[in-house]
Symmetry: D2
């Protein structure tokens, strides 16, 4: 088990557990013995899930518009809206990732810091270019 | 009923019908009397519908990843892929729109030409900025 | 010499002249005998040139910021501004292109219509993906 | 004077100096007494300056194309290239910023960590949306 300190609190996590799901996923054992799995976007998870549900509905709606031969420009307007909504989710996830996974990796030190930063930079580049 | 010529073929369409669904939707009455509704993306409709179905599945899959606490960067990679897929559909729709709706509007002449071009430009701007 | 009608006015242009600089460049011979070269963005040329001059200055200023070791985030803010300014110029050019070159190609008929539309679609795709 | 440790080396910097140019700019006093100013992109500074010089030349060239009435689509192609080049510089700067300024802020601890991450997120959002 590994200990690390995050913003004044001490956490312990099982590295094997973390390894299974890549690096920012860990099991928190609080001092009281309560444990739960956490990742970078845990505190925004419900919000993110809700937004993705909405985008899924938007995309289904766009499919229905096409099925009903709706006007091209109206279909395009909805696609732009869905794209923007996906981008907002991506920016929120990225912000959570930097605020938690990257901060924790750096605070924990070790070789995975550059890997984490590199990963974040690659994700940003994909986002900027998509 | 209005007549227009598109690439060597003569078509007749009901303006009232077109007006109901905005300008690029029309009812084709071929010389043989057969009629069907058409719009700018008619020939790509199945392809577009299939792609949108796939994006809908991708977005649902991303929601499932979030529900299963998958690693932020892996979620982001899937969001970039879904965004790119939506953009491709948009570019195909836009291409169909220019090739058909705009071409037909211009060939038909009339005041809606500038409106059509303006609409296309606005859609392009939304796409470039989304 | 070829004649075409654009929004109620008749124009004549030399196809050889047009061919030299690709298709949307032509020489206008007005009824009074006055002639001048025109292209899709002629009426916005001064505005476009002025905006590009400003972007050029912005980029030079960004280079100076880097030379003076200015803070990364401040440099990034200026790069985003310059990128947005370039995109606006691109959207204006594209709008002019659709309003003039594409409209004229379609009104003139002929085999270059699909080529023009294809070119426009390719340019839009490059813009959306850049 | 403040001391901080970065990747095994100890540095001292004058906070007043840093404050003047915002947070990631500092004066390094090595153990031998040699000092130099540094920031997040110091090691890529020449490369970044060279690329910006090239973009500046590209934009000037685009202005010349417009002055010479070059074909809209050819101008658009060059604008897409310049936009892509600016984006690459932005991604390099952002990567340097995360690798240095953010890493150092986190390693140094203190209240500016969240500010730095927020700033980075805002810069990423501007980039994704531009």
């Amino acid at each position: 088990m590994k200990e690390f300190k995050n913003r004044g609190k001490y956490f312990h996590y099982l590295e094997s557990e973390a390894a299974r799901d890549r690096l920012c996923m860990f099991v928190i054992y609080t001092l009281g013995g309560y444990s739960h799995r956490m990742n970078g976007y845990t505190q925004d998870k419900d919000d993110i899930a809700r937004r993705l549900k909405r985008v899924e509905g938007q995309v289904r709606g766009i499919g229905d518009m096409v099925g009903a031969d709706k006007y091209c420009i109206d279909v395009l307007t909805q696609i732009s809206a869905a794209t923007k909504a996906l981008e907002s989710v991506a920016l929120l996830l990225l912000s959570d990732h930097l605020n938690h996974c990257v901060v924790e990796a750096i605070e924990g030190g070790g070789p995975e810091v550059s890997e984490k930063i590199q990963e974040a930079n690659d994700a940003i580049a994909r986002l900027v270019r998509s």
